[in-house]
Symmetry: C2
Amino acid sequence: MNLRDLRYFVALADTKHFGKAAERCYVSQPTLSAQIKKLENYLGVQLIERQPRKVTLTETGAKIVPLARRMLQESDEIIALARNEHDPLSGKLNVALIPTIGPYLLPLVMRRLRKQLPRLKLMLYEYQTQPLLEKLRAGDIELGILALPVALDGLDVRQLYDEAFTVAVPNNSELAKKANVKVDDLNGETVLLLEDGHCLRDQALDVCSRVNAKESEDYRATSLETLRQMVAAGLGITLLPELATRGPFGSGQGLTVKTFTRPVPSRTIGAVWRKSSSRGEAIKAICDVLETAMKESKK
Amino acid sequence: MNLRDLRYFVALADTKHFGKAAERCYVSQPTLSAQIKKLENYLGVQLIERQPRKVTLTETGAKIVPLARRMLQESDEIIALARNEHDPLSGKLNVALIPTIGPYLLPLVMRRLRKQLPRLKLMLYEYQTQPLLEKLRAGDIELGILALPVALDGLDVRQLYDEAFTVAVPNNSELAKKANVKVDDLNGETVLLLEDGHCLRDQALDVCSRVNAKESEDYRATSLETLRQMVAAGLGITLLPELATRGPFGSGQGLTVKTFTRPVPSRTIGAVWRKSSSRGEAIKAICDVLETAMKESKK
DNA sequence: TCACCTCCATAGGCTCTGCCTATGGAATAG
DNA sequence: CTATTCCATAGGCAGAGCCTATGGAGGTGA
């Protein structure tokens, strides 16, 4: 039994005339006749009573027409639904960002994303790098925005922008008085870091290992905001991503943010997604927006 | 798009494994793979995300699964419904009888019909011959029980039984005192008849035309029961079908029923149905029951 | 009554679809 | 590195759907 045979049958039920039903279905009358006969044989019941010049439904046929009609409607629904979903730039997309990016990047780009991709509904999540990658591989999210490099098995990657590190110091520190800070100036300083699990920790450690700055043995923070407050309280200095020092997050209230002289330590922010993802076009479009926004934001 | 492809897709959605889905559908894995690919192409959307060793639904695929599942259920419902209707001796059958047969025949045969054809639901109607034939040809009823002969264009016929006429006379009439009545004894009598439209009228007139009995010019009746009461009131005599004189309908209360000597005037009762009817077997079964019942009832 | 028309069914041939087996490519495990 | 798993691709075959041509039954009109 197939949908086409049901379509023929319903057309015949509506028209009560083999020739007109065939026309309606864009096939020849013998085709329609044979297919309906085949349907009757398959079901083992007579659906149509064939009088000279008069076609009527049998009782069984009359019972089956509404069911067949419903099936055809649902078939049309599936096609309509697929048509609606066809636009690669529409529908939901689950996106996760790491905590040292999300709160600082999104205010810069959300308006632009909404304007340029109005039919995309971004569902936003915040995970540290490791759980982010797990959920990405599990299919729970479709796109991750994080600091590179990460292990790429099964994933595609695209670099979006480089982000400089800055140094946040207490207002009364010697470094606060310098016009510019060199990495060597961190020598001997106590550096406050995020706890394990945040990749920013490892990135800061990497920078600090080039000089004799050591990590605080007494304090670790769970967020950049906590780090900021510990610096303002004079407990040490820390490295902050540049985006995390813009606007309300910059110098003030016991804390001064300094940029490094060249070579500026930095991290690369990128996007990762499954190679097998069906949302390649939407992902590309989002990345384009992010990359453009960050380029223009550096002017 | 066809039901088989949808069945493959739903199996894959359930198993998340091409090989297992193929097994479930009793086809090879490449077949299932290719058909699902074809479905995706037809709909223009990706339904399945194909990771190494891992199959997941896309968002669109997840939306389409419940619709597909419902369609397959309805397909199964159609097949189940057809299977239930397959029994030629089950389901409804619209049967019409003429008024001079229905009330007298059915009490004799309904128990037997119920017992021998328990799954047939007889919907019973009463029409005079002409409207009965119209509704039969229109498809509103499927079987008519009436007095023959009738015009048979497009119809099949079967004789069921012969029914003798009797004569009903007032108790105080000379005919009431005769042991048996001959047709010639009606000579000079005033005969009460049914109004136009009842074939029994024409049949009685045919019998009366052989002798000089004349129809009452003052009275016509709309039913056999009315006829009976007019005879009891002494307004004339009438011819009654034999079945209409059995049990509570026989002699009594001012009226005597007499049988004719040979050659007994009679009418033939038969069944008619459309040649194109799909209910041949049920119709045959009913006629068998009626015919047997009447044969045995004559002993 | 005959000729013509309408209407559905049947027959024969062609194209397309669904299916199989065989094989390839990618990824994973030992 | 080899073996296994898993899905996709390739090539060939049988069956299904479709067409045109035709037949048979019934109805209509002259």
